[in-house]
Symmetry: C2
Subunit: 206 residues, 2 copies
């Protein structure tokens, strides 16, 4: 109920906190502070405390945060304490880089199927799980059969809208879009990965 009131910008920082906690755990650390997290992330400690306070009391005055506990809490809040099946469309260089990326599994995601339109790519194995690339015409059926809710689009810009529409119609609720266009898929959440946006956001300050 209070959940919907939490600003999206706050939700967007939680995965960054989660990543920082993962690194601290890998370093063998057990306790951290909003000050240390802030220093590592370039965010003020007050902002971190305020962000986390939306979700409960995670730290104690003077003793800081128990890293393993906060990590588990954030995983539950972000619903990545479970595994989400993902479809990937686009098996070019970018799709291959995504399929080869080892960082999804421990973070709540596993790519279950890869699709492309290119006959030279279809039926070839790809990625860390050696998935056989399928014809994009099989995309809708696969999403429905596997009840997949999360999709990644790594196609050229001109193909992305049609792929997004197919995904949405078949039941996908969240799309990570690498194609440099804004998708029109009402009712589906979309996050964009566009290097130009990242770069232009920085040149403003140069």
């Amino acid at each position: 109920m209070a959940k919907r009131a939490i600003p999206d910008i706050v939700v967007g920082r939680l995965p960054v906190y989660l990543r920082a906690l993962t690194f601290l755990m890998a370093e063998g650390r057990q306790v951290t502070s909003s000050q240390e997290l802030g220093d590592r992330l370039g965010i003020s400690s007050a902002q971190i405390r305020k962000d986390l306070s939306h979700f409960g009391e995670f730290g104690k005055q003077g003793t800081g945060y128990d890293i393993a506990y906060l990590y588990e809490q954030l995983r539950q809040i972000l619903k990545v304490d479970r595994m989400w099946d993902v479809v990937l469309v686009g098996a070019g260089n970018l799709g291959k880089a995504i399929a080869d990326y080892g960082g999804f599994a421990g973070k709540g995601f596993v790519i279950r199927a890869i699709f492309d339109t290119d006959p030279s790519k279809i039926a070839s194995p790809m990625g860390i799980d050696d998935l056989v690339v399928k014809d994009v015409r099989e995309l809708a059926d696969a999403i429905r059969q596997l009840e997949i809710k999360v999709g990644i689009i790594a196609t050229p810009a001109e193909d992305a809208q049609a792929v997004a529409r197919t995904m949405a119609d078949a039941g996908i609720k969240a799309i990570l879009n690498y194609a440099p266009i804004t998708l029109m898929v009402p009712g589906v959440r979309v996050q964009y990965i566009d290097p130009v946006v990242g770069l232009q956001r920085m040149t403003y300050y140069l």
Copy 2:
């Protein structure tokens, strides 16, 4: 002077507005409204008007925004009305996808040099400009000689911090980081491209 007072989150939306204007221009359109932009981007029209009002008066009540004019103004504000030279470190699948990406040139960026540590990649041509991949040991000299301010890191996580440090020491002021780690480079602006962060930000709502 007022510039520093503009929230980073507002600056971060300007490239998205710029991209939407580019699409409208490609459609042959000449005038748009905050309402139309908002519908396309999933942002409220009030937010768009408020964001743009930080930078001046771009629209007229009742007639909307002149697309070409607003496009030019945003390019100037973001300083992408000029061309920024960029170095890319990492010539794996991801680096190759970035080097092959045709979307930089019209947006203010051009990759001038590509570096890797892998002898099998060094000296091979890569990307749309057929740049010869260089040994990462030449990175610092190249940045200084070409006076490059912008870098892209597409290396494995374990190499990224050392690369970022080399970049910073040689004069890079803005880094787009694809490696899934938080970089510690004081005085350098960093934007992160991490698919896990994008995905986790959506599962919260599912």
